[in-house]
């Protein structure tokens, strides 16, 4: 399955990345060079044992004999290491100030 320039442009846009010019050419070449090695997976007989999310969870907790442990549903202090004001460049009247954006395009 060869990956094209249009594929890379499309995927980069989904990932909010600007990829143009020589970088785009390089990515097309590199991704094809990588994906050719992934094609070996196409030869796997999937049978009826398709992996599911529960299999992934099973991998994560293998040997535990149970699913991932859940945290107790208890309120905590939520204490911060620094004052709220220190988390952003500007803070006023209980709000963080953010740059004005002219458009959402």
């Amino acid at each position: 399955m060869a990956i094209t320039e249009a594929d890379v442009r499309h995927v980069a846009a989904l990932a909010r990345l600007e990829v143009e010019g020589p970088r785009l050419d390089a990515l097309v070449r590199e991704l094809n060079g990588i994906l050719v090695h992934m094609d070996v997976l196409q030869r796997i007989d999937m049978g009826d044992g398709q992996a599911s999310n529960s299999d992934v969870r099973d991998v994560e907790t293998a040997g535990a004999g149970a699913g991932a442990p859940l945290r107790e549903d208890e309120p905590s202090s939520g204490a911060l290491a620094r004052e709220r004001e220190a988390f952003a460049p500007a803070y006023r009247d209980g709000f963080f100030l953010v740059p004005r954006l002219a458009s959402h395009e």
Binding site: L35, V40, Q42, A62
Partner: protein
Amino acid sequence: MSNGAGALDGASSVDAAALAKQARDGNLDPHALLDATFHAMNRVEGGARPLNAFLHRDEQGARSDAANLRAGGGETRSLFGVPVAVKDNIATLRMPTGCGSRILEGYVSPFEATVVTRLREAGALIVAKTNMDEFAMGSSTENSAYGPTRNPLDLDRVPGGSSGGSAAAVAAGVVRIAIGSETGGSVRQPASFCGVVGVKPTYGRVSRYGLVAFASSLDQVGVFGRNVDDAALGLEAIAGHDRMDSTSDRRDAPALRPTSTTRTSALPLAGTVIGRPVEYFPESLDAGVRATCDRALDALRLLGAEVRDVSLPHTDLAIPVYYIVAPAEASSNLARFDGVRYGMRVELDALRSMYEATRSQGFGAEVTRRIVLGTYVLSAGYYDAYYLRAQEVRRRIRRDFLNVFSSGVQVLFTPTAPTTAFRLGAVSDPYELYLSDIFTVTANLAGVPAMSLPVGRVEGLPVGGQLIAAHWDEATMFGVAAALERALGESAHR
């Protein structure tokens, strides 16, 4: 002499446990230990060819903690006064946490990682943050936005990666213990390249609260030590349940340091079955690495172990599986770095342009490559062909391990990496570099614990031997490692 090779300072010529005991007993001033540590750091980072292992230092904070070591029952602390360095993707309050990336330049976390809190509670003095491949994506530490780290044993070579700064810090004798992280071998492979011990615990053994996520079903915090005992001491301090990490397991952390039997018995491994997976010793394996590992297997036999050939038949699929699963998860995890919530922002008027410009200028080439690859394999039309198949094969890889460990084998022995440390800039093809993880990614995919320890050298460069154990059986793995280390003695380092 090179910047680090063999030049051990006072801080590193004694085991971490012995250092802590001397400091606890009042026979060693932790401030003097810090003097030696920062002196060593200045030495390896000075001169014409610095190691570039350290990104941030915190002498003031370390000295403040040193002054308070005896407060609140400090006399029992296992790492009392022991200097420790931490990888730059683990959150600290007093130093930036930048993941070796421009996009997080200057970012200081508002909370501290659980492993850092536990180290400090155990009496460790956190002295520095270490260099790494950007967002832990790499096998050579050449992908750091702050320049590559050099291997202290040969300054023209890479230290391995992605935790190359931590490995180099220990190998150069600046600290006895350093913390790294693993997604596909990022502690074990640099440990192998730098001639130190590196451990990846069972998935769930160590809290990841405060570890910047790369691939969440694979990530695990790991430990470097100058020797097996140092690594055991470090892992004992950080292991165990943490309510802040839902993947953290509730079982108690085991004692890992070698027992007196391991230390003194002539046949400490009598009754132990060591598996030798044939897929990890292919015809193409570097002859020097093979010969060194064969000698280590002979040493294990002389210690009383039975060495048995076993098969992990899906091993050759591990790299394709890993490089689908890990980038897929990374593409999701790294979506949060958008110019709004963390680190740098390219100021533009439109929101989408701001996102794209920030991410494109903030991420390096390898991170960009993996985000695009991960987004591609998850996108409509390719999900079934790549991601779903990779998950199925991952399940089979895990079953391979479960089958071997249920057949009476307790520990597997393999080379950690197919080669010794390569020259800086020598590997430019992305997939060729990915292949240096070929023997390590399987343990991450299966979730089992694994470690690398030095077993010899080829042309002066260290070779790591890898031990892999069943889920949650770090204790047996460390027992074998300690016995093997003792048997090999100085031959592991020449």
